[in-house]
């Protein structure tokens, strides 16, 4: 059947198919924004700084999508689990009294066991419901976030800089990280071109950190286990027939995804400078899912380049539209555009036929 379909495709159709129509449109739109930016009077260098900054905050979260997509678990709508582990790690590290760069390291260290625990349980669950992962993942995310809402109030945190000011019980919904790990990465080896009159600041540390993780991910996919993971995602029956313990590989991928989610949120916080608790973790899902899809990933295929391209495109869109479009039509439609683009992208990905995914 797929043969006859292929025959019908024209060359243009093939281009659209390989690159994806929505992706084509988004890329075009972004180029348009870049061209329009100087015309509307906004400083291109500032824009680029913003995009790079946003990229450095979000890229790790997007990277967290990759392992699960590779192993055929679909889009990780359960990323809040990873985010929650990261939040637990971050808050506990602060609670323990760490400050500065050390608190960043400790946040990652403390969040790791949580990520393994949550990811393990979540992975075991997903193994029992193969085929229905995405819907369940979404609701596992919701349930765990609302459960942790209760926990943020119940866990006896004591550190005065993070608990609620008036009662002293329960964490604040948002607190600043200035004395903890705000900007510990982005200020590292920072390149600031302002002295030369260009308003361009490159958060080298954050980028390097992402590059390191991306390299590790790339390397992992080149190892024996990584190869097995790709095969499981590509054709689980083949993998099973080749003696792979499909469930174990999937479990591993979920734990990896969750752990990367945990690191991702910590990196995000260090860039953003604040920790957001309670319902905030839920807001991290869609941007990450949409970014990896815009980067050209499908429900069961994703690469590091998808992550990089996707995050750049998506964050570019998010940061550029408010200034450029607002300047053009004097209305801030960026929020709506973001919602339509990110969700439209997921809808598009879901309606595309995926081969090999059963």
């Amino acid at each position: 059947m797929s043969k006859s379909e292929q025959l019908q495709q024209t060359r243009f159709g093939q281009l659209v198919n390989t690159y994806g129509l929505p992706r084509l449109i988004i890329t075009g739109f972004l180029i348009f924004l870049f061209i329009m930016a100087p015309i509307t009077g906004s400083d291109l260098a500032t824009q680029i700084t913003n995009v790079i900054n946003r990229f450095s905050w979000n890229a790790v979260l997007v990277l967290a999508m990759v392992p699960m997509i590779h192993s055929g678990c679909g889009l990780n709508f359960g990323i809040p689990l990873g985010v929650l582990s990261g939040l637990l790690g971050g808050t506990l590290a602060i609670e323990m009294g760490f400050t500065g760069p050390m608190s960043f390291v400790m946040a990652i260290v403390v969040s790791t066991p949580f990520a393994i625990l949550f990811g393990g349980g979540y992975g075991a669950l997903l193994n029992r419901i193969k085929g229905g992962e995405m819907m369940v993942a979404t609701y596992v995310g919701f349930s765990s976030v609302s459960f942790m809402c209760i926990m943020w109030l119940m866990i006896p945190y004591k550190n005065p800089s993070i608990v609620m000011a008036y009662t002293g019980v329960g964490l604040r919904s948002m607190f600043a990280l200035d004395s903890f790990y705000a900007n510990v990465l982005s200020k590292l080896f920072e390149i600031d071109l302002n002295p030369w009159g260009i308003n361009l600041v490159i958060p080298t540390g954050s980028l390097l950190f992402f590059a390191l993780l991306a390299f590790l991910m790339w390397a992992f996919l080149h190892t024996k286990t990584g190869t097995a993971m790709t095969a499981v995602g590509s054709n689980p029956t083949f993998a099973k027939a080749s003696g792979i313990n499909v469930d174990r590989i999937r479990l591993l991928s979920v734990i990896l995804s969750t752990w990367l989610g945990a690191i991702g949120i910590i990196v995000y916080q260090q860039g953003f400078g604040f920790v957001q608790l309670y319902t905030a973790p839920q807001n991290m899902t869609m941007p990450a899912v949409a970014a990896v899809l815009i980067g050209g990933a499908s429900v069961n295929k994703a690469s590091i380049s998808n992550v990089i391209i996707g995050t750049l495109l998506f964050q570019g869109l998010v940061t550029m539209t408010p200034t450029v479009i607002t300047a053009l039509i004097h209305t801030d439609v960026s929020e709506v555009i973001r919602i339509i683009v990110s969700n439209g992208m997921v809808v598009y990905a879901l309606t595309r036929k995926t081969e090999g995914l059963k």
Partner: protein
């Protein structure tokens, strides 16, 4: 589709549209204000405010008006009915009048000057449109829109909402 089926369907559609049109007419809501105010100079004449008017709409007493007072009622549809209990001068026996009048469709707020109306003056004398005073500019109302992915809304109150716009763009 056969012809009969088409006719039936078109008829059904017409009926639905007719219902909609009817609803637009009979459901048109108006706010009616009653003024018990002296009309000082209408074509050279003066029409004095009544001492006291009690306005009853749909068996409900909506206003007791002294001089220079204004009352209010709401009414759905164009055929407005009310019962007035009028005390013309101090000490007079109140007289009761039942009044029916047709309201203009396109007016939301309608002011009726009772003394002028009861004197049988033409419409322009007793009817005027109520134009609400421009509301004090509120602080720029920012429609807090998210994509609703969070638990916000009426579920958890505003705990998640005080984060400003930053989290939305993230």
């Amino acid at each position: 589709m056969n012809k009969k089926g088409l006719v039936i369907r078109l008829t059904a559609l017409a009926v639905v549209i007719a219902i909609a049109a009817t609803m637009m007419v009979i459901g048109r809501g108006h706010t009616i204000y009653f003024d018990n105010k002296t009309v000082e100079n209408y074509q050279g004449n003066e029409y004095k405010a009544f001492e006291r008017v009690v306005v009853t709409v749909k068996d409900e007493e909506v206003a007791k008006l002294g001089k220079r007072e204004r009352g209010m009622a709401t009414w759905i549809g164009q055929n407005f009915k009310m019962i007035l209990e009028i005390t013309e001068k101090k000490g007079d026996e109140p007289r009761i009048e039942e009044i029916e009048l047709t309201l203009p469709y396109n007016m939301d707020g309608i002011i009726i000057n009772l003394p002028a109306y009861l004197a049988g003056l033409p419409e322009e004398a007793w009817l005027s449109e109520f134009i609400p005073a421009p509301e004090p500019e509120e602080d720029e109302e920012d429609p807090t829109i998210g994509d609703g992915l969070g638990l916000e809304g009426d579920l958890t109150g505003d705990l998640g909402g005080d984060l400003g716009g930053e989290d939305l763009g993230a």
